[in-house]
Point group: C2
Chain length 372, copies 2
């Protein structure tokens, strides 16, 4: 009759038919937040508008020195302070990051977790030390398989008490394209607490779960990593019993800057008759975005949008724009991204039990009001 973690920590589940958002999902939605979509106008997301999702609490890391240990199957294990990290040559990369669960709350049935609609995205310039530089210094053993990253965030999930941990295959950790960073700055300033102060991993092109925040340990191991966030969470499964496929890179997606103005409560968009310029952003972690199509009639007809130059930022979203003339009535606007490997967005929902890597085309209902 003792008291154990399973009293407050249950298994994953899918919402029942017609089940609305409950108190637990609301508590997650109140603390985590998406990008207000009008902020897609900014090339680089201003501070505080980038999406944030934390599994447990944001660690309080003020005032005491931070240590990053590099160990396991390496020849020269090390413990580095943040000042030592900044003594390495710095690299800055512009990266669009997206939560693997983006779109989850629009799925039927709805996996019960952080209830994102489509807004779990943001773009920042991250500055830090290439991971491969640190691993080369440490001397990775020939038998290395995975590199495990440990954050300082601690909690319980489905009954398992844990520090947040994720791994990368050693080839990805040592890779140059994308080049993984141990980052200490975001948009030229120290990381904000919620983005991993003082250190986080940045894995360009991968969903957010790979970018371990509050990074305190890098461990090279000679077997595949089987931590909770690697083998229990963040897998693509239709049934709970499956091993599933790992969630890795970001599927292509385009979003619109919402045109016109909103109704406060319904968030419906209102425009007036005439020219309504449309714009938005598109990205893919698999290959550069090669095209964006726009529909203004609920997906019946699609036309090519104009793409702005990528500007050398392979891992950042790309701006697109499209001229639309609104007529009185109701319209549904959509944009659909395709990348250079031919990956595109589905018109009917993909579904998996975790609600991961969903990239269903966005629908934006718009009311064009009469002139009067």
């Amino acid at each position: 009759m003792g008291h154990h973690l399973d009293e407050v920590s249950g298994p994953a589940r899918v919402a029942a038919p017609g089940e609305d958002i409950g108190r637990q999902e609301l508590a997650l939605a109140a603390r985590n937040h998406g990008l207000p979509l009008e902020a897609l106008r900014h090339d680089i997301t201003p501070p505080g508008l980038h999406y944030v999702m934390t599994h447990y609490d944001i660690p309080y890391a003020e005032g005491s020195p931070w240590r990053l240990s590099i160990g396991g199957r390496v020849r020269r294990p090390r413990v580095l302070g943040t000042a030592e990290l900044t003594s390495f040559p710095a690299v800055t990369q512009r990266v669009t990051m997206e939560c693997a669960g983006n779109g989850r709350a629009l799925l039927t049935p709805r996996p019960v977790s952080q209830p994102w609609l489509v807004e779990a995205v943001g773009t920042a310039e991250w500055t830090g030390v290439p991971l491969r530089t640190l691993l080369a210094e440490a001397g990775v053993g020939a038998d290395a398989v995975d590199v495990v990253f440990t954050g300082a965030d601690h909690g319980v999930e489905r009954g398992v008490e844990q520090d947040y941990q994720r791994s990368l295959p050693v080839a990805a950790a040592l890779g140059e394209d994308p080049e993984v960073l141990v980052a200490y700055a975001m948009n030229g300033a120290p990381l904000p607490p919620q983005h991993g102060f003082p250190l986080r991993l940045v894995v360009p092109g991968w969903y957010g779960m790979a970018h371990v925040k509050w990074l305190r340990g890098i461990t090279v191991i000679d077997i595949p990593f089987e931590g909770f966030q690697q083998v229990a969470a963040y897998r693509l499964r239709q049934d709970a019993g499956e091993v599933g496929e790992p969630v890795t890179r970001i599927a292509p997606r385009a979003l619109l800057v919402p045109p016109g103005f909103p109704d406060f409560m319904s968030r419906s968009r209102v425009v007036r008759e005439g020219a309504v310029p449309l714009e938005g952003r598109a990205w893919s972690g698999w290959a550069p975005v090669s095209g964006v199509e726009v529909s203004t009639d609920g997906g019946r007809e699609w036309r090519e949008a104009a793409l702005d130059p990528a500007g050398g930022h392979r891992w950042a979203w790309r701006r697109w724009h499209f001229a639309w003339t609104a007529t009185p009535g109701r319209h549904t606007l959509s944009a659909r991204a395709t990348d250079a490997e031919g990956n595109t967005q589905p018109l009917r929902q993909p579904w998996n039990r975790g609600g991961f890597a969903n990239n269903l085309v966005q629908d934006v209902p718009v009311l064009c009001v009469d002139q009067d």
Copy 2:
């Protein structure tokens, strides 16, 4: 058979018994966000963790010059650029801001609007020009009644298309205690877009609706202001037909830094047996906080917490702390603030149709697990 705003913009309503959070409330929760409560540890809320609530879209104010007009019943109407504002002597004030709707989603029945639990709060240092300096320069007419503040945020609400506007009585606008600011900096940096870039009003001690963001107009009028946000929204009413009382200053509230660690999904807190230091913050817009009591047994017994010095920051929250020894089992922790005018927090919910100015004592359920 035309198309009009009322197609997408309905009246205010209260949720039906048992009605969970719907898509519209979720869309608000996904874009607005509260303070993750562990961030109560910081005296000043770090960038991006301060609560944010916007009625319509965040205006895009980059690249073009901003103009603030001061007019109406003044002798010398003016239009000021941001550079002219920064040429006045600057004042910096540390201010705790809270949304008037904080606590709304915990009410029964629940007013349907932005569904805050208890986290719609934050503290920042705001720098700007005292409003009374600007009004003295303009020369307020002897017949002045209200001062109206107009933001650049535009939308529709309950069928009324509008720029966001709020007013203050002329005595409050000219007052020294609190001293109202036209602020251009937050924590020493330009305002972030979501906090009103480039200019906002700061009204220390008042709920957030008074702190008009994206400020572009100050208009002195000789009759009481009857704009939507003054007479339709932000009133304390039991029935829809009442005139109601205006929402003004912040009622006292104390919140806890959540002890221990969370379960990801339930957000339940877990601690281990033994000493668990409790801490939190308390504030009131009516008078300085004079005491905080803590209960660790669901409100049966209350004991005084220790208050940190106020440090001269009258309008900022005050830190408190309390020593607790946890024993295995379930506990409910609460803190209750009282101010120097004797205002305190109710133990049973206050209720009004808008869900405004609710300051019910917070309950924090905690599980203390067995050592094993």
